[in-house]
Symmetry: C2
Subunit: 241 residues, 2 copies
């Protein structure tokens, strides 16, 4: 049974949401200050802030400390396509990537992910995609250093790289999880701490069983889906259990 919840904060959120979706409040526009909104709706500031928190969780409003609440630009919803290592991936049309690479040595979570000994040299590529100037997604990609180009590369340079592996690619395993962002992720992606993210851990394995790439991908839930396609060619259709 669904209980109707006619709380003050819900009706305020509904009203603001209607104004945003109807276009009376335009993307990028600043809302009146919380004090003014509270006065307008004749509620206390905590109640008004609760209403705004709902809209932040939906990705409709962005709060910037010290300057105000802003209507978010509606995000293009992009689709992450499963089954491909980074080298075969380019960000969809309107997005641009910022890439930073660095050297490091494998430690605790990475050792199990890449199945390497602690201290193994790795190359990390940190990649943030942007739509206009606002962040869209966050990727951390780890490659055994002997497979990475000797100079820390731009991601574009990597595109040609994974195809030159000593052994060909055999398998890609992806684990998708839904969770709230860490404090760090929320600030880099400039999203509310209550906006859920899709976290994908991807591992690419070559025919020798070696992990040639591991990737930790984070997509804010309001702007990305992940698509996975499984084909059953006639000769290898699995039996029923």
């Amino acid at each position: 049974m669904i209980r109707a919840v006619p709380s003050r904060r819900n009706s305020i959120a509904d009203d603001l949401r209607r104004q945003i979706t109807a276009g009376h409040l335009k993307p990028g526009e600043r809302l009146p200050s919380e004090a003014k909104l509270a006065a307008h709706y004749t509620v206390s500031t905590p109640t008004l802030r609760n209403a705004l928190a709902l809209l932040q969780g939906e990705g409709l409003v962005e709060k910037i400390h010290g300057s105000g609440n802003f209507v978010r630009h509606p995000r293009r919803r992009t689709t992450y396509t499963g089954g491909r290592p980074s080298a075969w991936t380019t960000p969809p049309a309107p997005l641009r990537s910022t890439v930073h690479a660095r050297h490091l040595r494998a430690h605790s979570p990475l050792t199990t992910l890449l199945n390497v000994a602690p201290g193994t040299p790795l190359t990390e590529v940190l990649c943030i995609t942007h739509e206009d100037r606002s962040p869209h997604s966050l990727s951390r990609i780890y490659i055994p250093r002997d497979l990475a180009p000797p100079k820390l590369p731009a991601l574009a340079d990597m595109a040609t790289h994974l195809t030159e592996l000593p052994s060909p690619l055999a398998e890609v395993r992806e684990t998708a999880r839904s969770r709230l962002p860490t404090h760090e992720e929320a600030t880099t992606l400039r999203i509310s701490a209550s906006l859920a993210v899709l976290s994908i851990t991807r591992v690419a394995i070559d025919t020798t069983g070696r992990v040639v790439e591991a990737a930790l991908l984070v997509y804010p839930g309001d702007r990305a889906d992940a698509l996975f396609i499984t084909n059953y060619p006639p000769e290898e259709r699995p039996p029923s259990p």
Copy 2:
């Protein structure tokens, strides 16, 4: 730059979290009332409730209106495996399913999902898996009625069914999304409204291009991952772009 956030609610949440993970507070146990906890930490009730809200979002604490805050039983983390229609799926060992089936006719979101005309007869199977007595996941499965058993079946009966399709299965497409639960989902799954869920939309297509099954799956983020495996057999290794 990451800013340290040493707020009162964070330190309280940290303290309670430590007590839970260390086992001083045991699963199923009721926490002291919010008033008592507030007195113990010498904070106001809203502040204490904020601390509890953090733990709810992590799935560590379950709040039951009128009776108290309880330490959740730690959930077994299950793994949803992609690429399979319902008929090939059985819930992992400790879980049991409650199944309800009903007839209905296709309407707005289902018509596009199943690619059928409005009013097409469908069979809906609503499936809730449980671990002990607490809900674990929620599935809604839609099948064209001529492919479903004439009597509304238990899901177990369906297992043999999809293998008897007029045309063999050709493709499974799965879209994964991260979001907060709807009010309805939060109450049926007995989770906090701030615990993110993994929502998977799965469509199975046979060799004639017909959609033989569509499924809407909801997994609370604290207790399920989804795993997708893509194999590249030697003869069909895709080229680099």
